[in-house]
Assembly symmetry: C2
Homo-oligomer: 334 residues x 2
Amino acid sequence: MLNDRKKRVLQAIVEEYVNTAEPVSSKALIDRENLQYSSATIRNEMAELEKKGYLEKTHTSSGRVPSEKGYRYYVDELLKDDNISLEEVKYISEKLETKVNEIDELTKITASTISEVTHYTTVSIGPRTNEQLIKELKFVLINPTMMLAIIITNTDMIKETIIKFEEDINEKQVETMNYMFNQKLKNQPLKTIDRPLEEYLYDEMSYSVKVIKPIIEQIKRVLAQDDQVYLKGANNAFDLPEFNSLEVAKNFINVLDQKELVEDVLQSGLAEDINVYIGEENQKEELKDFSVITFRHKIGNKDMGTIGIIGPKRMDYSKVISVMKYINKKLKDL
Amino acid sequence: MLNDRKKRVLQAIVEEYVNTAEPVSSKALIDRENLQYSSATIRNEMAELEKKGYLEKTHTSSGRVPSEKGYRYYVDELLKDDNISLEEVKYISEKLETKVNEIDELTKITASTISEVTHYTTVSIGPRTNEQLIKELKFVLINPTMMLAIIITNTDMIKETIIKFEEDINEKQVETMNYMFNQKLKNQPLKTIDRPLEEYLYDEMSYSVKVIKPIIEQIKRVLAQDDQVYLKGANNAFDLPEFNSLEVAKNFINVLDQKELVEDVLQSGLAEDINVYIGEENQKEELKDFSVITFRHKIGNKDMGTIGIIGPKRMDYSKVISVMKYINKKLKDL
DNA sequence: ATTAGCAATCGACCAAAAAGAGTGCTAAAA
DNA sequence: TTTTAGCACTCTTTTTGGTCGATTGCTAAT
């Protein structure tokens, strides 16, 4: 356990380092109001914090930098989560009141708002396809060999796909299929469309395989489709000093370029609304030098999409988390 | 006009520079089979090419680098457009044979294939919304206050949107609207949905404004929506030595981050299938240090989407154009 | 328990020197 | 007349050495 003064020192170092991006010296802290000690005293505390693993040095005569353990302690125990200004509150409120027709759009707006307020890069993704229910399934005949299938989920997400047939079908048949498919699928999770259904349809329906097969195949394909990852503020990253290292910048772009990786990260979050992953805590090798904060937006129990912030380990955790918590409250009120 | 030997020298310099990214010295060329002269002779030719503006020096005692005029001459007069290997041909063919249901997907696949073969960053966009015809407009009632509008274009692009009403409507009304709207809009360009139509509908249709207004507004909104820009291989750029300059890398990311800018560039191309813009030839200030090659994919007269390659001015024009030409031919055969 | 003071360490910065690459030009060769 | 060898000159890159300043850890005093 850390004594009170050590906590104050650690907090001051994290905050100072987040601000300046320079290793923090004992001298840099002595002006703080809650640290009225000489530099020598601070130095002794820093040495002990280092021994315990909360701080690191880049070389013998440099100032200290928080270790990942240090950041973690800060996030868990020391962080203020009301670090948000009046202007920010106002700006966010305005943004969130934009009228949207689809939930997807709300996630995008939220993501870009977070990016604008925090100046970090955000990625976002809509609700998880697999967990949603089918609220409505509609087939619309376009011409004798083409039909449009529309799936509307309980979160009002729309997925649509064209289905082509090798033989002509008519309106009557479409109506029947509409009935049959809905019978079986309505209020079911999307992942229901799997083997058992396929068998059922082959068995129970009177249409030829030539008609049924393309429908199931195409619907499955659309559902399996990668969810769209939305990226905002990638260039903000380049204003941060850590991105002056080409190595780091390269890794960063590399991460953002791999949509599947980003998707995985966003999908993998725990049940919490807000999750913080610092450096090595990230599952993905490519993210070991970054910190990621994910924010899962729910209405009731319904997953409405996930937003992630990717930035340097020297991230302003306090600001980001404050903003997210405020947005979370605001969304619940909507 | 350039004499034959000067052409050979210019070509050799461009190719060498594209390969090595280092200013080309007179000595570096003397091993070429079609340049069997001493370095002094080459040097004299280089001096003259420089005086004519085809080459540049970074400082008095450096090798030569092609100027934009030099690249332009190379692209127009010297470039070989069959610079494509058997493996590449095979790889491309395979990729293009992927079955797709929507034209949009074909553009994406083509874009990523080009990126994979050339190792440059590609951006792409579907067919221009405004120029397409409405092949089919369908309204589907979801519940008494919600209707789905589906627009299918002549390139089989599907645009759909949910429309919410303040008062209940019934199946009968939807059918009538289906008829009325189709009557007016079928086989019209999408941009038809503009003021005149609005007036017409208000005048001629018997439904209240409360019903008509949200439909038109929402359809307009969807059509005005930014076309989705698809990005592939952004990280490839960072393997190129010019991106070791942080300045350049930053500009590059900045360009890619501005979807509207990229969209503009892709939409602005001339009537040609393939257009090359070298440095200052780009309309956009932000692209002055890059080269862009756009590739418009058409079937008949129908615009099917545009793909752009963004890279350094020291781009392998020959490779890129060879690949695009091959793909173009291949697509025409499909 | 805290602090003043000081030697020791190490990166950042700078200037000078040395090495290297390439050109332009002149004069000789073809 | 065209081509080439040779060399002085220019400019960049790399290396070297040395100073400066920031910061620490430790010791002894408060």
